[in-house]
Amino acid sequence: MKFEMEYFDVREIRFSEKTRFSDGLLSIDKNELIRQLSSDDRIAVIDIELVRPGENARITNVLDIIEPRIKTGVESYFPGMLRWPGPSGEGVTRVLRGATVFEIGAAQGFIGGLVDMDGNGAPLTPYSKTHNVCLLTAPGAGTSLVEYGLALKQAGCKASVYLAAATKGVTPDEAQIFDLDLGKQETSLPRVGYLFQLHSHGDSREPFVYGDNSRHYYPTILHPNEILDGAIVCGHYNLSVAIKNYTYSLLNHPVVAGLYKRHGKELCFGGVVITPEPTSMTDIKRTSMMAANLLKNVLHVDGVILTKEGGGHTDVDLMQNCDECEKLGIRTVLVDNEWLGPDGAGEMPLLAGSDNADAMVSVGNIDAVVDLLPMGRIVGGRAMHDFPGPLDGQLRMPLRFLATAISQIGSNHLTTEGR
């Protein structure tokens, strides 16, 4: 499977009469973009605001972050969400690199997070360095939470495609080819796979794979290209912000991209299995057995990286998957966050453990307290779930309220160190 990614580097964004991209400047016709998103009466797009890298600004009620992309030829993206039929991972994809679309909204039952572009919070998120196009939304009258979430996902995806369309006819700054044959490869390099757990605990609490909820899947092999090219998008609106994977990080999946980068040099990339995180022990045992079998006997890997999505329950999946893989002789590394209390001195509350989990990577203590400086500009509202506000002043809050500070798939550099 082979596709080409064309990168268009965004160095500046501004509102303008006409949406276009030229010389690193993304000009956006705000009224036209709002019009494009207003055909869905489940959602009201109230306004769009632009936030720039390093600006003295705080973005609140952040629900998802998407990279603007479009597939050349079909001139759409996100198979199963915006277009049908799929598949992703072939052809040419154009990317507005350095720009994002923020889905923003507040409703009782939605859990949004906060992104600081400046101060102590800025180094904790990759999105303090990007040009962020913020969609400020509210639910349409009489719309259920689930429907509002689905409409917001549509709006975010549409806005992403709308912006990326402006690259048509422009010469890219860089192009990269993703070409990987998962068939039998003659190599002495260690063959490494990736087992990607997807949260699957109900509506508004799970991602979409080709447009369908993750809970409808059994362990499934995806070609790495499919993940890097939009097959999975974030669908969580009612899940704590630190324990979900944002669409932007899925599109630039750090484990998949990292294994790709080292393929043929230090290792042989053997493929990816995605697997749900069921809610019953029986189902967890069944899926972990099936996932390990796919890795061992279909993809023939000797080592695997496991990541989870979600809270404490999903450690059960992580440990079961670890055990089933090790049982078949596949060496495992697990990526997990820690819950150690505000001072980092607490004992980790763990629902499951395994003697096989002897090689783990920490993405940080989710409870650690951060002090955030006051910000001159607030985008997204002055109050947030669990935070009555005002949010523009100096804030002291646990890391778990900062959207994207914890990345369970390992996008970030945060970790813990003994003290």
């Binding site: 109900g202 609490r205 990292g258 080292r262 990526v335 607490g346 499951a352 002897d358 945060l414 160190e417």
Partner: protein
């Protein structure tokens, strides 16, 4: 010029050996014993302004009174940094150094540091809250230990960032601090996996705690004579949440009347739990806590009586300390009321 107050026992304070272990707290102007070494190391950067001293036996027998008396002596003098010991492998001295370092730091707000051999019993008692420089097991290690203690103390005084235990030479305090690594977690995961696959030494970033495995209690022998209580971690509370039960990471629990829940249901009760979709429970709380069925079974005589209160907390990433405490408190309450069995519902 850094002003240091130094704590020693009777032996290092040159009062005497085991026969003088009963001497009460006292203060001496200037340095004594290892305090002279502190002055030599610091040269014109600082000096020991006073030495506080107590016999090891006196301290261990009268810990509260002795440490308070010493604390008063220290608090009465100008001081920038407190140094205790080092105690090496001397057990009573180690505990005294640990206790004084902790109290001076926490109650006087002064930077404080001590030193011990890793197997000193004072280490396990005090490592969590204070900096203990790792030393050898006898006073032969003094010339190596003291400069490290002073260096760390000076940097604590200057409120400089303190690095990890290995770099700084202190015993791990059981604290894990968030830091930014040079590589992303995904890159580190690949590095770690390649090491593990090659069979070369590797180091995990998370050491899993031992799991408490709770074996199920034996069945209630005489169900017909039993009082059964309802307990849940599902966060079911009156609508105004009068006891402020947290929606996650709970530290509290509460009890409410089963009769109120039976009479008013979703009109007056809701789940504040943040770990699951509460829509269905908030439509009908019996889905979380089966009061309806339990009342039927009580009427049918399957068991004798339903305990009039139900106990509730929220079970979402609760710290182990709080979870254990909440469990103990609930169990005590129910045992005192002669409850014979509990239906514990989990989400």
């Amino acid at each position: 010029m850094l002003r240091i107050i130094h704590y020693v026992n009777q032996f290092f304070g040159q009062i005497g050996g085991e026969d003088k272990a009963g001497v009460p707290p006292m203060v001496i102007d200037g340095p004594v014993g290892p305090g002279l070494l502190i002055d030599r190391i610091l040269k014109d950067r600082g000096r020991v302004v006073a030495t506080v001293l107590c016999g090891d036996n006196y301290f261990s027998e009268e810990m509260e009174a002795a440490s308070q008396a010493l604390l008063d002596m220290i608090g009465a003098r100008p001081c920038d940094l407190f140094i205790a010991g080092p105690a090496f492998n001397a057990g009573r001295y180690g505990i005294a150094c640990g206790e004084m370092t902790r109290r001076v730091q926490d109650e006087l707000g002064l930077p404080a540091v001590t030193g011990m051999f890793p197997e000193n019993p004072g280490v396990d008692l005090y490592r969590k809250g204070i900096y203990i420089i790792e030393t050898g097991n006898t006073a032969v290690g003094m010339p190596k230990a003291m400069p490290k203690m002073i260096d760390l103390g000076i940097r604590l005084f200057g409120r400089e960032p303190i690095g990890g235990p290995e770099a700084e030479g202190y015993l791990p305090r059981g604290i894990k601090q968030n830091v930014l690594a040079s590589k992303s977690a995904a890159e580190r995961a690949v590095d770690l996996l390649l090491k593990k696959m090659k069979g070369v030494p590797f180091r995990t970033e998370i050491l899993l705690p031992d799991l408490d495995v709770v074996s199920p209690a034996p069945a209630v022998a005489d169900l017909k004579g039993a009082t059964i209580a309802l307990v849940t971690e599902g966060g079911l509370v009156p609508r105004e949440n009068p006891d402020n039960i947290e929606s996650a990471r709970a530290s509290r629990w509460a009890k409410y009347r089963v009769a109120d829940l039976a009479a008013h249901g979703a009109e007056e009760f809701q789940s504040v739990h943040r770990g699951f979709d509460t829509v269905f429970v908030n439509e009908d709380p019996n889905r979380l806590l089966p009061v309806d069925v339990m009342e039927d079974l009580e009427r049918e005589g399957v068991f004798k009586s339903l305990f009039p209160d139900f106990l509730v907390t929220t079970g979402v990433a609760t710290t182990m300390d709080n979870a254990r405490r909440i469990g103990r408190e609930m169990a005590r309450e129910l045992a005192l009321a002669n409850v014979s069995g509990v239906l514990l519902t989990s989400t």
